[in-house]
Symmetry: C2
């Protein structure tokens, strides 16, 4: 369960202040599937970084599964990120000098699996996103949409209870985007995983239960999606 209370994030640049996020409050229950939408620069990635324990708010409180995140030390935060959260970054953040397969094996180190198990799971995850024939390619030997799919496979391979995906279909053609969306939906339905997707894509937004809209760092609406 995700409880955000008045989250604010201010970046200070010399004499200027950028209020990237301003007083964002909401609760997301386990197993919900939520879209976060809003114009370019409205604070979506900033909000996702706080939810994903990658950044701390300048103000406000964030409670994750009953634990106030500000009370966690660096190593506890790293544990939460490794065990509970799968993050698909807006710009993928893949390791450049390692293959797609090795990129997807990396997060599994937390789970204490054997080399053989980690390799098998990584292969399955890559096949699920249509990259079975590209596992040995490094990121610079992959197309933009293929890199995005490696980032998705890496976020899902540990079956985290919370999936945070920042514009996961941004680099994909509509057919591949539909396949990825149905993958997120089945994880959500079959495993009860909480899925939070930042998106500009109305197809993606239509297939979630609820849409939170940001504008200039503020939440301007938070509505259930009418049944599809």
């Amino acid at each position: 369960m995700i409880v955000a209370e008045n989250l604010s994030k201010v970046f200070t640049m010399g004499e200027n202040e950028v209020r990237a996020l301003d007083g964002a409050s909401f609760t997301i229950n386990e197993g919900e599937m939520v879209a976060i939408m809003g114009p370019s620069g409205s604070g979506k990635t900033t909000l996702m970084s706080i939810i994903g324990c990658l950044d701390v708010p300048t103000d406000g409180r964030y409670v994750l599964d009953g634990e106030p995140v500000e009370s966690l030390n660096e190593s506890e935060l790293a544990q939460v990120r490794g065990r509970k959260i799968g993050f698909v970054f807006q710009q993928f953040n893949l390791l450049a000098r390692t293959s797609a397969l090795e990129n997807v094996m990396l997060p599994q180190l937390y789970a204490g699996a054997t080399m053989k198990e980690r390799t098998e799971r990584a292969k399955k995850a890559l096949e699920r996103v249509g990259l079975g024939a590209r596992m040995d390619h490094n990121p610079n030997e992959l197309s933009g949409g293929q890199q995005q799919r490696v980032a998705i496979a890496r976020a899902l391979v540990n079956e985290p209870s919370i999936i945070l995906a920042d514009e996961p279909t941004g680099a994909l053609d509509s057919k591949t985007g539909v396949e990825i969306m149905s993958l997120f939906q089945s994880l959500h339905r079959d495993n009860g995983q909480t899925v939070i997707l930042v998106t500009h894509d109305s197809y993606v937004a239509r297939h979630t239960d609820r849409i939170i809209r940001l504008s200039d760092g503020h939440i301007v609406s938070d509505e259930k999606n009418p049944s599809p």
Copy 2:
């Protein structure tokens, strides 16, 4: 004028071959506005790199404004890129440690303008894409869609005769995407610039004169757009 004859690009990886592009032929006349579409991995970025003189084909011929590109040496190629072509990269390729303003001033070194002129033109270009308030931010202090718009401003600032844009609205919300598209359209109409856009966005494709579709490295269709 762009004349592509049987362009192929093969990447060799150990014992395997990846045919990223296979026998692509087409002519694009000065002042045309063309969309290139196709599934993720179908060869669009590979084709754009060849058209933009950033890569050489493994086979086939590419003639740009009457000059066979294979006959140009490194310094002549750099000249063509600097003077004739404005390229918006799929992953932006901004300089990380320099501000948005300096990133957009960089291509103008070719044009022999004064520091004052270069700064003025860069400021105007950034204002045109809605980033007047973010000129002093470095790329890591910008949102994904803001970085994309810096990449667009940088490609346009020299008013190149050919604009090549690889998924230029991929990181943008629909309203900002509409603004960017109308910017491309006005450059095309008012300046007669040739505009080639790789896109997954049907809104963008609808607003071009012609759509070339790729699939598995092949051109599978090349059709004029019915009048909008």
